[in-house]
């Protein structure tokens, strides 16, 4: 009744190819953005904004990055944490680098710092993507795992990256853009949200473009894609580059916005696994799925952890944690059985049903 596209005629190719061709989708998206940009900062507390939403958005950004590589281009990667670390440490190096240019002395603007750190991560990503031309499937995980462990090791060992801090920890400078400091939880959240919203939009457009179709062709069958003219070298490496760019920006945001002081272990192998889980459970080859997956993997355990005390069940915190693990495991299996192609698919199915509601045929 409400979700009906009848009568919405497209009279040009441009309209036909819009990201949200259906009016209701545009309205829905507008409402979501309105809630995210205005509603949440106005009506929720520091805990929700600072400890739930900000890390959720950053991890969702990393999940989008990995989804481009794994979901769209079909290359399994367990090096996400490593690429995030490159972003974080590169951002730190750029931010603490003082340059002099014709008598003008200063540091790089924050936004450029963060974007450049993404570019650094992209370069590193291309380097570790080269083996993907020869190694495929689960075996490819070995190359990205090598990246993960090697990158972590480099940041621990090479003092230059941490400006020779004795413990190998980097400290992010304050977030200042044109003299305005982002220091409350809500401001930091808005800062992150702006980045994530713009980059998610960019990702959505990218996967609908020629490049994105190339990735999907390679994913579905690389030999066939090669025969119809997609060059595997460029297609695979561009996927690695774009994916690592997103991960790098996410890493920089994690260091600068969320934590402030970071050690390389914040981007360890567990982070890589967690983000892969987000992509699989959310839905491979879906930008929306990256958000849903991040919510599932990050928020569900916290929610489960809050449930037993909420219903007045007096058990120790260790027991709560064990239960959280068990229920979380069971829910992963449950959702896979219900919808193996990820939670985003559930939403698609829901939309189909909504179209004919309340009079299905």
């Amino acid at each position: 009744m409400f979700y009906r596209e009848a009568g919405q005629f497209k009279s040009s190719y441009k309209e036909d190819q819009a990201i949200f061709p259906i009016l209701q989708d545009r309205i829905g998206m507008g409402i979501i953005l309105l809630i995210a940009f205005v509603g949440i900062p106005l009506f929720t507390g520091d805990y929700f904004i600072g400890a739930i939403m900000t890390p959720f958005l950053i991890l969702a950004l990393a999940a989008i990055g990995l989804n481009i590589l794994t979901g769209y281009a079909g290359q399994i990667s367990l090096g996400t944490g490593g690429f995030m670390a490159v972003g974080a440490f590169a951002a730190y190096k750029f931010a603490t680098f003082t340059f002099t240019f014709g008598g003008f002395e200063g540091t790089m603007p924050l936004v450029i710092t963060i974007l450049l750190s993404g570019v650094m991560a992209a370069l590193v990503g291309i380097m570790f993507g080269i083996p993907s031309l020869r190694i495929k499937g689960f075996y490819l995980a070995v190359a990205t795992l090598a990246a993960q462990f090697f990158i972590e090791w480099v940041f621990i060992k090479v003092g230059w990256f941490t400006n020779y801090s004795p413990s190998g920890v980097i400290t992010a400078p304050p977030l200042i853009i044109m003299g305005y400091e982002f220091d409350t939880a809500a401001e930091k959240y808005l800062f992150t949200l702006t980045f994530v919203a713009i980059l998610a939009l960019a990702a959505k457009n990218l996967v609908r473009s020629h490049i994105g179709r190339g990735w999907m062709a390679i994913r579905d069958m690389d030999i066939a894609a090669e025969i119809i003219g997609f060059k595997p070298l460029q297609t695979k490496l561009s996927a690695f580059a774009v994916s690592s760019f997103f991960c790098g920006v996410a890493g920089a945001l994690w260091a600068f916005v969320h934590l402030g002081t970071v050690e390389p272990e914040a981007f360890g192998i567990n982070r890589s696994f967690a983000i892969l889980f987000m992509v699989i459970i959310g839905g491979m080859g879906s930008i929306l799925g990256s958000f849903i997956g991040a919510a599932f993997i990050m928020l569900l355990p916290i929610f489960l952890n809050n449930v037993p005390p909420m219903i007045g069940w007096n058990i120790g915190v260790d027991m709560v944690a064990h239960l959280e693990f068990m229920v979380f495991g069971v829910l992963i299996i449950f959702f896979l059985i219900v919808e193996p192609h990820g939670l985003a698919r559930l939403w698609t199915i829901g939309k189909e049903k909504l179209r004919t509601w309340p009079f299905p045929y």
Partner: protein, 438 residues
Amino acid sequence: MSLKKFVLGALGAAVLAAPFTAPAPAFAEDTLYLPKLVYRTGPFAPGGVPTANGAVDYWAMINERDGGVNGAKVIVEECEFGYNTDRGVECYERTKNKNNGALIYQPYSTGVTYALADRTRTDKIPLMTMGYGRADAGIGTAFPWVFPLMTNYWGQATGIVKYIGDQIGGLDNLKDKTIALVYLDIAYGKESIPIMETLSEKFGFTLKQYPVVFPGIEQKATWLQIRRAKPDYIVMWGWGAMNATAIKEAAKIRFPAENFIGNWWSGAEQDTVPAGDAAVGYKSATFSAAGKEFPVIKDIMTHVYGKGNGSGEENVGQVLYNRAVLTQVFIHAGILTAQEKYGVKAITSEQLRWGLENMKMDAAMAEKLGVAGMGPSISPTCEDHIGGGEFQIQQWDGKKWNIVSDKITPMNELVLPAMKESAENYLKEKGLEPASCS
């Protein structure tokens, strides 16, 4: 209603009121709220469980015996984070505004300590990092909200070298000796390297470094190298599963256990018991004595376990348990000092900072709180968040840890300049002004 039930009830009510938002209804009576980040699960749980039990039992005893601190009930709330930094931050945000605001945090995790450094500064809540965390955090002007309250890793390294010097008849004899530094290759393990290098230059001993890959369950390569290098002493910066493995491997290469000295996170029952006979004679640094003979521990036995409460009797008197109790005693002393100065029972976190900066943990205070002989005397100031601090060397005899050395003071003339330099760097990178202490 037992304390545990009370705490859990309070927790339940709070969460029921708002599952994803933190503020909870205020209590009418005077209370002191001490949230405790714990890890009773996960790879570091063996060390996390006694630590958590010590803290929870201490405040249960205070509530039971004295009815709180000067009549203000202490509310302890545990939040499990499984040694996972992300969840630690979430726990902090979840608890910080409950019950009129958290007074202090003690994460017992290097990662969470780093992650909370900025947040506690913004929120004006002290962060107690007794015996861990940043080495330069003792500089109160740079880290006004962080309280190491004990000598740091750098001080500890100088003290251990001092002890080795004593063993061989003076620091001058270190000249032709070799000391191997075995450390876990993460931020925590690396903290000791610069000061050990300085020491090696100053006293002329050869320093050999052996990083162990995290989490330290496979160390064969390290010990083959050590066997070949034949060092005179081994100093270890380990944590978790790494320690017991290292102790066993050292015994296998027949390295004399009494020349193997761990830092204070490498010397607990959890490290030596799994290593079995291999651990007999192994030494470690410690700033808190193990054992059950201290009045405070006896009181915990009477008032908590004697009444059928408490969370882990087998941990009572263990190294990590007693260390956690001692940490709470310092907080207790800080609360008392603050209550006296401000004349209120339910102090705020900012008042507690003043209390911690001005408390005097001397013999009289230690006697009063039942910890005489259990830990160091300290008197921090606004500039100096360490306040003296000494430690001792303990040795494992196969059944328990025994103190085998006098109190050791670190070589502060080496440590302080390095701390100041590092703290200044931190302030510069953060773009912060030093806090005022006048």
